[in-house]
Subunit: 253 residues, 2 copies
DNA sequence: ATCATAGTCGTCTGCCTGACGATAATCAGG
DNA sequence: CCTGATTATCGTCAGGCAGACGACTATGAT
């Protein structure tokens, strides 16, 4: 049977990115300001059309590189210096999610260490890191950041919320939190990642016992650092283990 | 800026379903035999095109109902008698996954109690439950079931494997295993679900202690049954709790 | 020198789990 | 009726792990 294009509806397919990082003790997401209608002037998640010869993960990695300069991390290769964790999040296809046409968006979640500065595709004003609470707070916050108070464009608030929840739950049972850290980091820095992502305070002594006692989670590099002040801390790299068993559960409420 | 259809590539969007159930102590998936090329005569996952006015979850629920007569379970409504759990799994968009054209498939995972018999959309011969191992076993098993030995069409083996892994991990930390049970069930029946999904044997005493001791997991209905033989067992319904904390971890190895 | 800060090591207690003994309530068959 | 097979359910015990928290260590700031 020959291929009949009229036998099915045509869709546009995009990738949208939830890019998360931890800056100044808070979980931040990358947001871009829309320069075109609809939602012109509003903040949105970075993203773009999937090209006709691209796999979805390739499109997501391309968008990530365009927006941040980060490379997606292929687990089969050694970790390049500018690597981010990238995984598919979920797909959103409400017929009315884009008023122009029928768009299905395959959202991806990227986790990155704190970056020097967002590098826009030519227009640095249109890209910024923003704390996820301010992006998700639909009520709006009046004051200096009132330009951020408007809800995100399209269904991006929902997508961001899903991405944040995925990150929050995934660091419980995997070593993914190290994706927020530079290649070498201390136990305290890793703990502050958990604290920022979960929004809770953790006991430094129990946390230290847990992460150093889990085989394959952390590998000491031999060096120490004092960049946080106080007693110098051992430096570690992420070990090969990806699954934490038993998991490190979020404290309840 | 007006909408310009030539500014982006057009995709076909489908939903594919991984429908799992437990029959005769083994985890089974719904498979349909393809009647058209490509992969004519091979087994595949049920699925179809998303209509132009349909959300993805609606399309998945429609396909599920067409193939099985099951209703997707809307968590905000009381559970109808023929309800199945339905959730989005992942999206597959390799440019070469369908030789005819560019198709992006949003796979969904459905979990259902053991059903009387698959009800095909007019052709009962083309749909069947098959143990997931036989569908995933690429080497093929010679013998009576050799028609099942050929690998699934398209990338459906990958999708099925992802769905099975999702189900296996999700019953660890949620009450989702009850989706495989009828409305009323015994602790032993629930244990046999875990054993079938994980492919391991569990200690009946420890399992009983765990599930009856987790608040909100099981609600006794007062009745008892003896349909398994042996001492009569209490009947339960699924409680309101959806998250198991602490989780019930798979035995290692 | 003193203090503040952060890191690291220990201890104790309670909870949960895995291993497994024991008892209870049914059915099949002699 | 009695016996054994089968399944359900309750209990016990030891080990592991997590939360709470004391104590000590090594730095920088004043």
């Amino acid at each position: 049977m020959p291929y009949d294009p009229s036998a099915f509806p045509a869709f546009a397919v995009t990738v949208d990115l939830v890019v998360l990082t931890v800056r100044r003790h808070s979980l931040c997401a990358l947001a871009v300001r829309r320069g075109e209608p609809p939602f012109k002037g509003r903040w949105a998640l970075p993203g773009g059309f999937v090209r006709s010869d691209e796999d979805l993960s390739v499109a997501a990695a391309r968008e990530l590189a365009e927006e941040t300069g980060l490379l997606a991390h292929d687990p089969t290769l050694p970790v390049p210096p500018n690597a981010a964790h990238l995984e598919q999040l979920a797909t959103y296809g409400d017929p009315k999610r884009d008023p122009r046409m029928r768009v299905v968006s395959v959202a991806h979640l990227a986790l990155a260490p704190d970056l020097p500065a967002p590098r826009a595709g030519g227009d640095a004003h249109s890209v910024r890191w923003a704390p996820v609470e301010s992006l998700l707070d639909q009520e709006g916050v009046f004051g200096r950041d009132s330009d951020l108070a408007a809800p995100l464009a399209f269904d991006h608030a929902r997508i961001l919320a899903d991405g944040v929840e995925r990150a929050r739950s995934k660091i419980e049972y995997s070593s993914l939190a190290t994706a927020f850290c530079p290649q070498e980091f201390t136990v305290g820095e890793l703990r502050r990642v958990y604290e920022a992502v979960w929004g809770v305070a953790l006991d430094p002594r129990n946390f230290h016992r847990k992460v150093t006692g889990t085989p394959g989670f952390l590998v000491p590099t031999g060096g120490t650092t004092t960049r946080q002040g106080g007693r110098p801390a051992q430096l570690f790299r992420a070990g090969g283990a990806t699954l934490l068993n038993p998991p490190m559960l979020r404290p309840e409420v």
